[in-house]
């Protein structure tokens, strides 16, 4: 095992903080993220409130910590939807007969024709804005990319000897998939998930910023950005810090994901 580089350690520390914040927010921020204190509204960052307060006097630091859970859950859900769908497509394409491969690859190509946000926006114009629709929309948009990668991984693994060996030994197809294929895919899947969470958080919060995702008073980062956007000229901290944490999540998950990728490759 290579010794982790300092940057990876920092990224891991950030992730640890975020996971702690998601699971035990009161440990890191004892205040109430929803309590209203009109007299303390719009305060600039200070010792009492390290990230300042918002329009209802709620501490931004407290809300960011308590919002870590919902924000990470949204990122995870969107990634789960994306990878879940991608698994189905990728496995079908990689393991199935040629015509299935052809069909699903074409289908994935079609989905690719809706670049980035467009599929999400199309989904939202049909089903309306909101946290649930925007999460599903982001998941759908990321699925084609993962599907393509999973498919090529599956095709690589398909040629591998242990799969052949399993077939020779008489194991049924389901067993082959679950006992041999998936464990070998697990490494790449884990990397994809790690890389994907950061991206999903960024896309979901972008939709919230545009007013199409989560809305206040939820202490979710995207909603906080959406709320802080009107005040960005006078009270920049309301949007800056949630945005900063979104960037930190994305960057740290990407760094960890990349180092995992390198390890998986060299393993």
């Amino acid at each position: 095992m290579r010794r982790p580089r300092p940057l990876e350690l920092i990224a891991a520390a950030v992730l640890l903080f975020l996971v702690l914040a998601a699971l035990f927010p009161s440990l890191l921020a004892p205040g109430d993220p929803l309590a209203i204190h009109p007299a303390e509204s719009f305060l600039a960052p200070s010792w009492a409130h390290p990230f300042g307060t918002d329009e209802s006097g709620r501490g931004i630091y407290t809300r960011i910590v308590h919002g870590a859970g919902p924000s990470l859950v949204i990122g995870l859900s969107a990634t789960a939807i994306g990878i879940g769908l991608a698994l189905v497509l990728g496995l079908a394409a990689g393991l199935g007969p040629r015509w299935l491969d052809f069909g699903t690859t074409r289908f994935v190509e079609v989905l690719f024709a809706f670049p980035g946000l467009l599929l999400a926006l199309l989904f939202i114009v049909i089903y309306g804005p909101g946290v649930v629709t925007s999460t599903i929309a982001v998941g759908l948009s990321t699925a084609p990319g993962y599907a393509r990668i999973i498919r090529s991984q599956v095709l690589l693994v398909r040629r591998a000897p242990y799969l052949e060996a399993a077939r020779v030994l008489g194991r049924g197809p389901a067993v082959r998939v679950f006992r041999t294929l998936l464990p070998n895919l697990a490494g790449s899947l884990f990397v994809l998930v790690t890389l994907g969470i950061g991206q999903s958080i960024v896309w979901a919060s972008s939709l919230s910023y545009l007013g199409l995702g989560a809305v206040p008073p939820a202490a979710e980062w995207g909603a906080m950005l959406s709320a802080g956007r009107t005040y960005v000229a006078s009270f920049w901290w309301m949007s800056f810090f949630p945005g900063l944490f979104i960037v930190l999540s994305a960057v740290s998950t990407t760094l960890i994901g990349r180092s995992l990728q390198n390890r998986v490759r060299s393993a």
């Binding site: 209203i36 509204s41 209802s56 000229a233």
Partner: protein, 542 residues
């Protein structure tokens, strides 16, 4: 290099000083003709520039520059002449004769005659025009007759004391009858009026271009000068992001902005280069209506309890930085006949608790919300993100928090405009905040007469409080028919007392209508009709 440095530096310093002096030259006190004003609106771009079609505030804002109405209003609330020089109501109240100016032509050359009045009223009443505001205002009008070339007789089915107020609004402005004969699509793109500017180009999603009307000379009686406008051109842009809009104003990229957020008003006050125009809209105040048509607000005690449990004053102070004054009236503060009663709206959690106990909501569940017969005291509050600015949405959040202390569970649902209308049409609300801009106290009839609960074909109805009180109905009808000003004032006062004392509404503040503009733009004023800024007297001190 060193020998030359000192003289060079001093020369540079002198040059800079002179340059500085010239930009700080004393300002002109005489209006200067020419120049282009850039207006950036935070509203969505109207789909039609003819305010007869539909009839909303963004249309009124831009139409104020190129269309004119029969009458206007001055600062004291009196109706003053504009395109009509005089008017007389018949003794039986069933007709009005308007005498028009005889020297006005529309920008397409058509002269202003009685036919123009007839054509415009017909256009507004035509279902194909799909006018909502104008149509509602002219409900009692049955026709227009010629008295002479420049006098029109408007026939009514019943006396209408609100007719002059209605006719002062930009949504009933007078357009060229020749232009009205064109297809609606063409007329939407370039309506033809008599105003100080005319629409010369519309680059959709980009800007509307208005240019000076060279032959203009029909300002309302309270205008600042006569003859054509000073400005040569106005460019009307749409910048929906409020932070960008304000940044553009500060940078000088635009000259006037609307939909100004409270924090930027305060920031602008400290900035010498930016001035502030505060022009509250007429009509109803910004208020929350309680749906008395279904449980739990069909019980007056529960309504009062909710109102007592809402701490609005603190919220308004902290969220609006003193730019909005708390209102205790159903009507805007610019309405002369508005009535307000502060004592009804004191923040009193104890009183709320007592009232809820009296009403039978005595149990509480684990989270502290009141329960009665197994039902939780839950209130649905759809919020239109189009119509409620962020500060107002935060205000609702704070009301939600204080109402929780009394045991109310308020569910805020931020919705886009279309879904919001849908929720209202389906009676899926207990609380709602819907603005209504109209000149005159007759707005009370639209909002609180029981006829207002009957939905229009689109499903929308204006009486969102679902107030059905025969006594109130009678007062409002009587007030709309009497022309005795004292009687009218007394009737409207009684009507407002019924609305306020029944705890059907929670008044918040005036409909906020703030504009910020570069300090070198002089002569801007808001028309006292619907408080839209007019740039007729405006000039650029540059």
């Amino acid at each position: 290099m060193n020998r030359l440095a000192l003289p060079l530096l001093s020369a540079a310093a002198v040059a800079l000083l002179l340059a500085g002096c010239s930009t700080a030259a004393p300002t002109n006190s005489e209006p200067v003709s020419g120049g282009t004003l850039v207006y950036a609106s935070g509203d969505g771009e109207p789909t039609c520039l003819d305010p007869h079609v539909g009839g909303n505030y963004p249309q009124a804002l831009v139409a104020t520059q190129y269309l004119e109405s029969l009458v206007s209003k001055n600062k004291d609330g009196e109706i003053i002449p504009w395109l009509a020089t005089s008017w007389k109501e018949a003794d039986d109240g069933l007709s009005w004769v308007f005498t028009l100016r005889d020297d006005v032509t529309f920008t397409d050359g058509t002269p202003l005659t009685w036919e123009a009045v007839a054509a415009n009223i017909a256009h507004l009443q035509d279902p194909a025009t799909a006018s909502s505001t104008g149509y509602l205002a002219l409900q009692k009008v049955t026709g227009v007759e010629k008295v002479d070339e420049h006098s029109a007789k408007v026939l009514l089915s019943a006396p209408d004391s609100a007719l002059l107020d209605s006719l002062s609004q930009p949504w009933l402005a007078i357009e060229s009858p020749t232009a009205l004969k064109r297809s609606q699509e063409v007329n939407c793109e370039s309506p033809v009026g008599t105003g100080p500017f005319e629409v010369t180009a519309w680059d959709r999603q980009q800007s509307i271009t208005l240019e000076r009307n060279k032959d203009y000379d029909s300002p309302p009686a309270d205008a600042g000068h006569k003859g054509p406008a000073y400005l040569k051109k106005i460019v009307w842009r749409f910048l929906p992001d409020s932070a960008s809009r304000y940044a553009a104003l500060r940078a000088g990229t635009v000259d006037v902005i609307d939909n100004v957020q409270p924090d930027t008003i305060v920031a602008a006050e400290k900035d010498d280069t930016i001035d502030h125009l505060d022009a509250p809209r007429p009509g109803a105040s910004n208020r929350i209506e309680l749906n008395s048509g279904k449980a739990p607000f069909d019980d007056e005690r529960v309504r009062e309890a909710f109102i007592r449990s809402a701490d609005v004053d603190d919220a308004v102070k902290s969220l609006f930085f003193g730019t909005a004054k708390r209102s205790y009236s159903a009507l805007s503060s610019v309405e002369k006949l508005g009535y307000s009663d502060k004592s009804l709206f004191d923040y009193d959690q104890k009183a709320a608790a007592t009232l809820l106990d009296e009403a039978g909501w005595t149990e509480k569940d684990a989270e502290g919300y009141r329960v009665k017969d197994g039902t939780r005291l839950e209130l649905d509050f759809p919020v239109s993100t189009n119509q409620s600015i962020p500060a107002e949405q935060s205000l609702f959040e704070q009301i939600q928090a204080t109402a929780k202390q009394a045991g109310f569970k308020v569910d805020l649902h931020p919705l886009d405009l279309s879904s919001w209308y849908g929720a209202l049409a389906k009676n899926d609300y207990n609380l709602v905040s819907a603005p209504y801009t109209k000149v005159g106290p007759d707005v009370l009839r639209i909002l609180y007469h029981s006829d207002g609960t009957i939905p229009a074909p689109s499903g929308y109805f204006a009486n969102l409080a679902q107030l059905k009180d025969p006594k109130l109905d009678a007062l409002l009808v009587q007030a709309s028919e009497t022309s005795d000003q004292d009687e009218r004032a007394a009737l409207y006062k009684q009507a407002q007392q019924i609305v306020l004392e029944g705890y059907y509404i929670l008044p918040l503040y005036d409909q906020q209508n703030h504009f910020l503009y570069r300090a070198d733009v002089k002569g801007i004023r808001a028309l006292p009709t619907v408080s839209t800024p007019t740039f007729y007297d405006a000039w650029l001190d540059r």
